[in-house]
């Protein structure tokens, strides 16, 4: 399955949007945190997990999804949220902890929930798997369209929740896909040190479902493989497991010294940055001109700037609102 030209441009646009988002957040994150770095300070306090480098996975998957489809994302959710169409202003406002944020500042960057596009995430590794299977079941029971995709990291594939959800989805044959972002690291622990198999695609056989591994952090190949799995799911043929090779260009979270990385790894990865790579490819393949891409990039920059402006200018929540929205 090959993406159309429009889809390619959509993918590039959303990769760039995501990257600009992360770049800006990375910059703003340090406001108020210098000279002494204290995570509690600044306009964006708390932990911050950036997704630079992993954009191809998000767009390769979400190019197949509509608003009605369900995504549960991880603690590293920005690229996934952007690709799924989460409202950028509200998302940024949430990251800033503003009253206009997705949850009015209650969640923060690890807890982005947008019911309008059926997007959720969590701070607990593997926690999104069950809910995605349940949403898929809900669609099946209601006879409504929609597939559910749970994104997890390769480290999460060793969590019990993974096994239980895969088995349940397979037994109930619901329209569910688990997409594993294999960035080779779970914080400082390498995949090799944590996972008994080199690739998680083989684990599909444990559930009698297709397993795929997609190499190269390549948006088109991801699009291709995921497309088949989604078609299968939409046709009522049940779940699939897809692991995608990717890499993170940043630390696990901001402030990570990354001393655990072998020497040279980081530089080698920067050479393989998927965004300039896709840019050249679009031009080489004749899918877009420099001008078109410049314009996409400029718009993305503006869109992110606008979201940041919206977030900055939004009001803080009232402190006492902490006590509301506990129950429906």
């Amino acid at each position: 399955m090959q993406p159309s030209r429009e889809q390619k441009l959509w993918m590039y646009e959303h990769m760039v949007l995501s990257r600009r988002c992360e770049e800006q957040i990375a910059k703003i994150y340090f406001e108020g945190k210098t000279p002494v770095f204290n995570m509690a300070n600044g306009p964006i306090p708390g932990e911050m997990h950036l997704s630079d480098g992993q954009e191809p996975v998000a767009v390769g998957v979400c190019a197949h999804l509509d608003a009605e489809d369900i995504v549960t994302a991880t603690h590293r959710p920005h690229h996934q949220a952007i690709a799924k169409g989460v409202d950028l202003n509200k998302m940024m406002a949430e990251i800033f902890g503003k009253s206009t944020g997705l949850s009015g500042g209650r969640g923060g960057h690890m807890h982005l929930f947008d019911p309008a596009v059926n997007f959720g995430c969590s701070g607990i590794v593997g926690q999104g798997l069950g809910p995605a299977v349940g949403a898929a079941l809900s669609r099946k029971m209601q006879g409504k369209p929609g597939v559910a995709v749970a994104f997890i990291g390769e480290g999460a594939s060793n969590q019990g929740a993974f096994h239980e959800a895969m088995n349940l989805a397979a037994v109930w044959k619901v329209p569910f896909i688990c997409v594993i972002e294999d960035n080779a690291w779970g914080i400082s622990v390498s995949k090799r040190a944590s996972t008994s198999v080199p690739r998680n695609d083989v684990r599909g056989a444990s559930y009698g479902i297709p397993g795929h591994y997609v190499e190269g952090n390549d948006p088109y190949r991801i699009y291709d493989v995921v497309g088949e799995a989604i078609a299968r799911a939409r046709a009522g043929e049940g779940p699939s497991l897809i692991e995608v090779e990717t890499f993170r260009l940043a630390g696990h979270f901001m402030g990570d010294a990354e001393a655990y990385r072998p020497k040279g790894e980081k530089d080698a990865l920067l050479e393989r940055d998927p965004i300039p790579k896709m840019r050249s490819r679009l031009i080489e393949d004749g899918d877009a001109s420099e001008d078109e891409l410049n314009s996409i990039e400029k718009k993305a920059e503006e869109r992110i700037a606008e979201a940041i402006k919206f977030a900055r200018e939004s009001a803080d929540p009232r402190p006492e609102d902490a006590l509301t929205a506990v129950f429906a």
């Binding site: 949850s103 929930f113 059926n118 809900s138 029971m141 239980e164 037994v171 929205a325």
Partner: protein, 339 residues
């Protein structure tokens, strides 16, 4: 012919009846759990449902509590209204993330923009020698953590009304039923739990305690099976001329502190009866809720009759030694009076 309002039900049947009525009225309601289909639930509370509703809506699950409780959350967020069973509350350790961190917090993380209408029903309690991993109450464990309502009925009337209220609630409700109140003969049911229960659908408000016996001399607060111990103790006390008021909490979250405080303000004496572990649980909370409000109402130091801080032993004599009972309540009152 028995009038409808004379009909007595066990808690098990009352729960099943409520679920069935709600399933008839609302096709989004469905049930998931281990052995809730053909078996009808180990504690009988889903009996008859598979036959009426079929296996799409009455779903036996694999032994995968994390997955199926997580799935219930996902389904609830997507517009369904799942009733999901954790067979024994003791098993919460394998799936508590899906409960306390996911089910209980997602409304908050959505900023209130989404509902999580689901019921988690789970069996509690010991006294029949089922050992340390099948006999706990864990009321305090669930009630301590924010975002989930927690109810625990002592009789069939309340069980049906609370279950109906729970299913209709747009927030997650944990429904803790005590095994020895279920009306399963093989567990030696407390007779007082099987009471008149209307056939028609009704709700009991979540968050309201019931004064199940009025009295002026001492307030005995309890929940679940403990309410029956308290009522029996009150009967005995009345023969000695002491007039005990008994409060059935029914709901731990929200906790009806008003009703407790009002009663203790009247009686000046407080005994809390709780089958859950003694420390850091329900008994401490009830006592603190009274004294932080107004310590001067107390004429004597309050007392608790709770499960000691030890794992639950298998052997009958040891287990009974640990469990709350009528004698311990009476002894607590004696000590209170003579102090």
């Amino acid at each position: 012919m028995t009038e409808s309002n004379d009909r007595k039900l066990t808690i098990a049947r009352a729960m099943a009846e409520s679920v069935a009525q709600e399933m008839r009225a609302d096709e989004r309601v469905f049930v998931m759990g281990e052995d809730i289909g053909a078996l009808g639930g180990v504690y009988g509370n889903t009996r008859g449902l598979l036959e009426e509703f079929g296996d799409e809506r009455i779903r036996d699950t694999p032994i995968s509590e994390t997955a199926f409780i997580g799935a219930a959350v996902g389904a609830a967020q997507d517009g369904m209204r799942p009733v999901v069973e954790l067979m024994f509350v003791d098993f919460f350790g394998v799936c508590f993330d899906a409960i306390y961190n996911l089910m209980a917090k997602n409304i908050y993380f959505y900023g209130g923009s989404l509902k999580v209408p689901m019921v988690l029903m789970t069996s509690t309690g010991g006294g029949y020698s089922d050992g340390g991993q099948h006999s706990q109450c864990l009321y305090g464990t669930f009630a301590h953590l924010p975002g989930m309502k927690v109810v625990a009925p002592s009789n069939a009337y309340d069980a049906k009304g609370l279950m109906t209220a729970a299913i209709r609630d747009d927030s997650p409700v944990v429904f803790m039923y005590h095994k020895r109140l279920q009306g399963m003969g093989w567990l030696g049911t407390e007779a007082g739990a099987t009471v008149k229960t209307p056939e028609e659908s009704y709700t009991v408000e979540i968050g309201k305690a019931a004064v199940v016996r009025e009295g002026a001399d001492v307030t005995i607060v309890s929940l679940g099976l403990g309410v029956h111990h308290a009522l029996k103790a009150a009967e005995q006390l009345s023969q000695e001329g002491t007039d005990a008021e008994v409060i059935d909490l029914r709901s731990l979250v929200p906790l009806d502190r008003e009703t407790i405080r009002k009663s203790v303000a009247k009686t000046g004496r407080l005994i809390v009866v709780d089958e859950d572990y003694h420390s850091y649980g329900v008994s401490g909370e009830v006592i603190a809720s009274v004294v932080e409000h107004d310590v001067s109402v107390l004429k004597a130091s309050p007392a608790r009759v709770a499960y000691p801080d030890v794992p639950i032993p298998f052997e009958r004599g040891m287990e009974q030694f640990c469990l709350p009972n009528v004698e311990k309540i009476l002894a607590a009152y004696q000590e209170m009076k003579s102090a």
